[in-house]
Amino acid sequence: MHPILKLLVQRIALGLLLLFAVSAVIFLGVEALPGNTAQAILGQSATPQAVANLEAKLGLDQPPLTRYFSWLGGILTGDLGKALTNGADIAQSIGQRLGNTLFLAGCAAAIAVPLAIILGLVAARYAGKWPDKVISGITLSTISLPEFVAAYFVIYLLTQLFPIFQPVAMVFPGMGFWAKLHAVALPVIVLVLVVLAHMMRMTRAAILNVMQSAYVETAELKGLSPMTIIWRHAFPNAIAPVVAVVMLNLAYLVVGVVVVEVVFGYNALGQYLVDHVTKRDLPVVQAVGLIFAAVYIFLNMAADIIGILANPRLRHPK
């Protein structure tokens, strides 16, 4: 077997094993939450009789191990069950919300990733000079702002001072693509501001690191222009750490943006998860938790594999 293929199979198998372990951890974690589902649902109206009725109805009187395996079996057959709180089909609800999450993350990434890499290259080219300082200064300031502050600032600027966009970014099925883009403009701007600096700094650092190498010096002596050296010689060799950081940020854009979702009323997975955690809706919490874990594992695996493929030494092992 080709060593690359073998490596790929190994990584994927490892990823699946990890996912399985994560599912167990999620289940345990949810079990350990304080409070009681039936009581959380009933709230002030939780009389002992009502709690007992509801627990029997929801199957919460079964032992945890039984519930774990029936849950796992359901996932493998694509059946995530029904939400305890409102009886909605979880797979269906998640499907729509996951679509919204990916749409928002995709829009933000489509702007942030190329922008961060270009800014990183420019900063590396002019390391220590004013363009580098301006780029670093601005991106580091925006990453230092808490997301909700950045969000409120953007809301004030672009809906009140200059009413170009709308503060509430909900999207619905049936909205056209451009209408959706217009709706999510503000959260996208905030997310770009938040993730830009990390990727930009890593690109800059990785390039500068490579710039110390002998082959870059050779290229300089050949008389190549600095931008050509960076683009043709330095960047391909700096790609592994950059990809790793990009993937981390993509994962963040998918799983970590609940604050931004709440501020803009964006109907995606984060808000959905938080609502169901509050109500102790365990099947939903578990399902969303597992999806988030899968996204993380998948993106890190992808970073790993791209890193390997980008490195000739790993691609052609002696």
Partner: protein
């Protein structure tokens, strides 16, 4: 245009939008030199300005979760309450002036002992699926709410009905015990009439309301189109209604200011003054029956000692709480759960004030050993509950009472603290009538008796008042009950909160309604785009 005529135009506009009463209008216009007769005529003309039809009304509301459902029995927060009120219709409803309005019922009558009630069902009302609303549908709806499995929030109301009978267009309800308040109780927002009682599919969202539900995404959005067959031409003016769930205060306010929505609820007290000055929007306040409380279990030490309870009641600064916690948007409480928004309220009961000397006197008399008195609170107990608890502790300590605040997590507060720990912060939403408020939380046998208050005299008065048809006698009984709770109960009630809404100037028909938020949940169908 002269200054006076400009002001007159403004006032006419105010009347047209329901912002000014007749008395205010006549008073102010006569001050401008307009004759009283002309002022009256102007008022009538303005107030009866035809509501405009058409357009899309959008509401941005806090209080929605992705766990919400369309089952009216399970509605517990504002977004589902407002959401259901658009597609659903009830037998009877509350009016802003505290009277009962006939909706699906056309007439109501009772036997002289108010034990048997007969409702005449309005003819020709249709559900959105085309079925005609019958007395059987109403009966089946109430039956479903009496079923324990339906987990209805209105169970406590309908379980008092011993027998139901539907005959032609008449529905006859026989109560277990007489109640003069039955029509009031049936205005409960859970009791939306569903076809066949909603037994087959409680979450179908099919009702006889002014709008037909088109899209429902829990915690996100409700979208409706007008119900062309709705029976009441005075409700349901816009062609479409949308309700967006916006829980973030800043985003909700920004959406109102940017014109994305026409009305928002729960304006943050901190920004009320700022929002008042903003162009194109107004802040509307309605004094409600909801209140924030500190509750002591009267059966647990040290709160089983009435002197200690009195010491704490004198150790709280009520006006300070209204000013600092509610930002002035509320009124002081008097340690019983009733205010002027209730019918038969006795306004002659002396207001209890902060009195450090009296508090100290009662505290000394109680013989408390000086160990810290723990009061539990959490951010979610009510908005500002932690600050309120700290203010209370400070004023009590100033009177020599060792009151200490213990902060609890929001998580599990209603399970582990409320109704469990002997002293904690909480809130009540209020009820349409005194009987219901007292029966829910102060009757000895009430499940939600969260002060563990058991008083035979009180229970007796409550039952007697329930059947009493002489309103003066009834008022006297409620007054006596108020005194008992105030002077012997475990309730410390510093403040009644207000419903504070933000309303766009593009909207007409807004009325401040004390019954519940957003004009008793009906703002989207009662307002119009001016």
């Amino acid at each position: 245009m002269s200054d006076a005529s400009q002001r007159l135009d403004h006032m006419i506009e105010d009347v047209r939008r329901g912002r000014m009463t007749r008395r205010e209008f006549v008073g102010r216009t006569t001050a401008l030199g307009v004759s009283a007769a002309l002022a009256g005529a102007l008022y009538t003309k303005a107030a009866h300005a035809e509501p405009k039809k058409g357009g899309v009304i959008r509401a941005g509301l806090a209080g929605g979760e992705s766990t919400n459902t369309l089952d009216p029995a399970l509605a517990a927060s504002v977004v589902p309450q407002v959401g259901n009120a658009q597609w659903g219709e009830q037998l009877v409803d509350m009016m802003p002036d505290g009277s009962v309005e006939m909706r699906i019922a056309e007439e109501v009558s009772s036997s002289p002992d108010s034990k048997v009630w007969t409702f005449k069902i309005r003819q020709g009302v249709e559900f959105s699926n085309g079925q005609t609303v019958t007395a059987e549908d109403v009966m089946a709806t109430y039956k479903r709410h009496t079923d324990e499995n339906a987990q209805s929030g209105a169970l406590g109301i309908v379980k008092g009905i011993a027998e139901m009978k539907a005959e032609g267009d008449k529905l006859e309800l026989t109560l277990e015990a007489p109640s003069a308040d039955l029509p009031y109780l049936l205005t409960d927002y859970h009791l939306i009439i569903q076809p066949g009682g909603g037994y087959d599919n409680p979450t179908a969202g099919i009702g006889a309301g002014p709008y037909i539900l088109e899209t429902f995404e829990p915690g996100v959005r409700y979208a409706y189109k007008k119900n062309p067959n709705y029976f009441d031409p005075n409700t349901g003016h816009a062609d479409e209604v949308e309700i967006l769930s916006i829980n973030d205060n800043t985003a909700r306010t920004a959406a109102l200011q940017a014109g994305q929505v026409h009305m928002i609820n729960r304006v943050d007290p901190k920004i009320v003054e700022l929002l008042k000055g903003a162009p194109g929007v107004q802040v509307r306040r309605a004094v409600g029956r909801g209140h924030y409380v500190f509750i002591m279990h009267v059966d647990k030490a040290p709160f089983d000692n009435n002197d200690l309870r009195m010491a704490l009641k004198y150790g709280i600064k009520r006006q300070e709480m209204v000013d600092k916690i509610l930002g002035g948007l509320g009124s002081v409480g008097n340690d019983f759960p009733i205010n002027a928004a209730y019918p038969l309220f006795d306004d002659s009961i002396e207001q209890r004030e902060y009195d450090a000397a009296k508090a100290k006197e009662y505290y000394d008399k109680s013989g408390h050993d000086g160990s810290p008195i723990i009061m539990r609170t959490a951010p979610g107990a009510f908005p500002g509950a932690v600050d309120a608890a700290n203010l209370f502790a400070a004023s009590a300590q100033a009177a020599g009472i060792p009151l200490q605040v213990q902060l609890e997590p929001d998580d599990g507060y209603w399970t582990n603290v409320w109704n469990v720990e002997p002293f904690c912060a909480s809130y009540w939403g209020g009820r349409p009538v005194q009987d219901q408020m007292y029966s829910t939380a102060y009757l000895s046998t009430a499940e939600w008796n969260d002060t563990k208050f058991k008083n035979a005299k009180f229970d007796e008065l409550l039952m007697a008042a329930r059947a009493e048809l002489d309103q003066d006698k009834r008022k006297g009984m409620y007054s006596e009950m108020a005194h008992i709770v105030r002077d012997e109960g475990g309730l410390i009630l510093p403040m009644f909160n207000e419903f504070v809404a933000g309303v766009s100037d593009a909207l007409g028909g807004w009325v401040d309604d004390p019954n519940a938020e957003m004009m008793n949940y009906r703002a989207p169908s009662k307002c119009w785009l001016a």
